[in-house]
């Protein structure tokens, strides 16, 4: 890490990364084709200038409040807490944001950067479609043309979000290559970017990709953790004991975790284990992957012995990715964050329980975090405080859930 900044307890801070070359320990970096390299360097310079400009932060804060609707509430889930019979469970309600997920936080930030850089066209990749909708939303507001790359398989299972993007004026391009999911959409977005570097800004949706993306996405998403910190202290008079969030690329989790990394708070990230970690149909790149290079960064990846990327599987399109953000790979390697997993079936059970107990239809992504909470919360004492990030709402997933439950709609 860059410097040996010390925390109040005298330990080196874990919040100073990445280093000047974009590395988090052995992970991160800038593994991109030469055509993109000058652009990546230009983006970093633009981001540093934005960080030093109070007007940038002021505009970001204004839009967070008046356009996104932040701060999102911190809600005590009393019925779920009682049903599980252990720890006290709070939800950070990022599913109440404009566009229905945490993705908008990052899109607002990157759009402001794109405008500072004078870019006139926006591209993005999307899996579940939440990032695509959020990108199409900010592009509409900025009056810029927007192209969203989405795997053909994801288009089929996320029809409502595809229509939303089109309503918002975006062009949705179906990606037919590879596994036809998020990984392939990202390849296609990178190919578009290489061919249109002069005018195009690529809004990456998760805390991954070449430096400085993992850093800036984390910074924009850290609004979640900063608010959560104030809100839980207000509600309980102290910091929480446990934070829990689902992880695909890991942007909602790093956004919640990062402001707490130097505190005595246990953190649990939950990967999607699909049909099970003992099958080859899962998306748990920390539990079942090895270090490798893909999409501009070195991180933990699902791959075969020959270094070919293998296809991920999850019922949740947003978690269906064979990699993970490099900061998570690093936090995993040093043991600061605990990473668990939840299967499709466990996520579906948790999804239904939350609907019935709390009147909240969650997205399938946070349903994975809820599934982990259902395992660990009952064994915890009643004064243990758990904060989970409810990072998206589930309207988009009702068709997938109906199909999984064998229900005709």
């Amino acid at each position: 890490m860059a410097t040996a900044a010390l925390t109040a307890s005298g330990r080196p801070s874990l919040r100073t990364g990445p280093d000047a070359r974009g590395h988090f320990g052995a992970f991160g970096g800038r593994y991109v084709a030469e055509t993109l390299m000058p652009l990546i360097l230009e983006l970093e310079v633009a981001y540093r200038a934005a960080q030093a400009d109070p007007a940038f932060a002021a505009e970001f804060d204004y839009l967070m409040k008046h356009y996104v609707g932040r701060p999102s509430p911190m809600y005590f889930a009393e019925r779920l807490t009682n049903a599980l019979g252990g720890a006290k469970i709070y939800f950070k309600r990022d599913e109440l944001n404009h566009t229905g997920a945490h993705k908008i936080n990052n899109c607002i930030g990157q759009m402001l950067l794109a405008q500072r850089m004078g870019k006139t066209r926006i591209i993005a990749e999307t899996g579940a479609g939440q990032h695509g909708v959020a990108t199409a939303t900010v592009a509409a507001r900025a009056g810029l043309p927007c192209t969203i790359y989405m795997g053909a398989r994801d288009i089929a299972r996320q029809a409502p979000n595809v229509f939303r993007m089109k309503l918002l004026g975006a062009e949705v391009r179906s990606v037919e290559s590879g596994s036809k999911t998020l990984k392939d959409a990202m390849n296609e977005a990178l190919r578009d970017w290489v061919a249109n570097v002069h005018d195009t800004f690529y809004i990456i949706g998760t805390a991954a990709g070449p430096h400085p993306y993992p850093e800036l996405v984390r910074d924009f998403q850290s609004v979640i953790g900063k608010e959560a910190r104030e809100q839980i202290v207000e509600a309980e008079g102290r910091l929480p004991d446990v934070l829990c969030a689902a992880i695909g690329g890991g942007s909602n989790a790093i956004g919640l975790f990062h402001p707490f990394l130097d505190d005595d708070v246990r953190m649990i990230g939950v990967e999607a284990s699909g049909h099970g970690l003992d099958t080859d149909a899962h998306a748990a790149s920390l539990a079942g992957g090895r270090a490798g290079v893909l999409h501009g960064n070195k991180t933990m990846l699902l791959q075969d012995d020959d270094g070919q990327i293998t296809e991920a599987h999850s019922i949740s399109a947003g978690l269906d990715y064979p990699g993970i953000g490099p900061e998570h790979a690093w936090l995993h390697s040093i043991g600061r964050v605990e990473y668990q997993s939840a299967t499709d079936a466990e996520a579906l059970d948790a999804f239904q329980q939350l609907c019935r107990l709390e009147g909240i239809i969650p997205a399938l992504e946070p349903a994975h975090a809820l599934a982990a909470i259902r395992r660990f919360a009952p064994g915890m004492s009643r004064d243990t405080i758990v904060v989970a990030n409810l990072c998206g709402r589930g309207d988009k997933d009702i068709f997938t859930v109906a199909e999984a439950l064998g229900t005709q709609m």
């Binding site: 593994y31 084709a33 030469e34 990984k183 999409h295 012995d305 020959d306």
Partner: protein, 276 residues
């Protein structure tokens, strides 16, 4: 350095012509026919062979080479298999330089030091790793150097004067100029833009400069060959292989040889015709 590569560029320069560099994906369309295609490239007049290491996620490649990667992986090509193919090629051809081009992850999975060792032993001359810019290639460059392999770097239309020294420092073998900002096999650059880019590069390095991306026909090869030390043709060849694979043509090597001969004749006569 081993130096089949410098020797070959010097021979071509002595004949006052550009070297013809041909790209195919290793193991495309399948492992049986892969070796006969390499022989056909040489028979048709290729001076240097770029061999693509197949990868599941070829982010800098257009549809033609993506399809070549899928065909090759589909028949079971591995990096180990590619190295075996190079070793077999060297049994009958000790002079045609072979450069491996691809993405970093298969090399990383193989083990960087083990790869450099095995590749040099098999008779490889160098590598072009598309997603390993100078900022990250300290993970590979010293191992290549240690085994006498060239580290070929890419320069592009976005590589400005300020950045060029970073790209050239540590480059060896030749500099590969990517003529268009884009993926392989799509748009073609204007002759004038290529000429001025090559002139700019040659003013900054004594290494040969080869130009690729968007060169599909003998006429385009001849035009680029007027200025560059090497002309790279890839997607057009890979498309031809793909079409033949689809129709199960049994004269694929002959088709490849014929196509390459057209390109080779063009680069061999380009400067003569212009002078006349």
């Amino acid at each position: 350095m081993s130096d089949r590569l410098s020797r070959r560029f010097a021979e071509c320069a002595a004949q006052d012509r550009a070297a013809l560099v041909t790209f195919v994906t290793a193991g495309d369309p399948d492992l049986e026919r892969g070796p006969s295609i390499l022989a056909a490239l040489v028979a048709g007049g290729a001076d240097i062979i770029e061999l693509g290491m197949p990868f599941t996620d070829p982010m800098a490649d257009g549809p033609a080479i993506q399809a070549g990667n899928i065909r090759s992986l589909g028949t079971g090509t591995t990096l180990r298999g590619v190295l075996a193919m190079i070793r077999a090629f060297r049994l009958t051809d000790g002079t045609t330089p072979l450069i491996l081009m691809g993405y970093f992850n298969p090399i990383l999975a193989y083990g960087v030091e083990a790869f450099a060792d095995a590749a040099a032993d098999a008779g490889l001359d160098g590598t072009i790793v598309v997603d390993l810019p100078p900022e990250e290639d300290a993970e590979l460059a010293p191992m290549l150097r240690g085994h006498g392999l060239h580290n070929v770097r890419l320069a592009t239309p976005t590589t400005d004067a300020k950045r060029l020294p970073t790209v050239l420092s540590g480059a060896s073998g030749f500099v590969y100029y990517v003529a268009v900002a884009g993926v392989t096999g799509t748009a073609s650059a204007a002759d004038a833009d290529i000429a001025s880019a090559v002139a700019r590069l040659k003013a900054a390095t004594s290494l040969p400069v080869a130009v690729g991306f968007g060169i599909k026909t003998p006429a385009q090869a001849a035009a680029v060959g007027l200025h560059a030390d090497g002309v790279v043709v890839g997607s057009a060849l890979v498309s031809l292989i793909g079409a033949a694979a689809e129709t199960r043509a049994n004269d694929l090597p002959e088709q490849v040889e014929h196509f390459v001969r057209g390109l080779a004749d063009a680069v061999r006569t380009a400067r003569v015709r212009t002078a006349a």
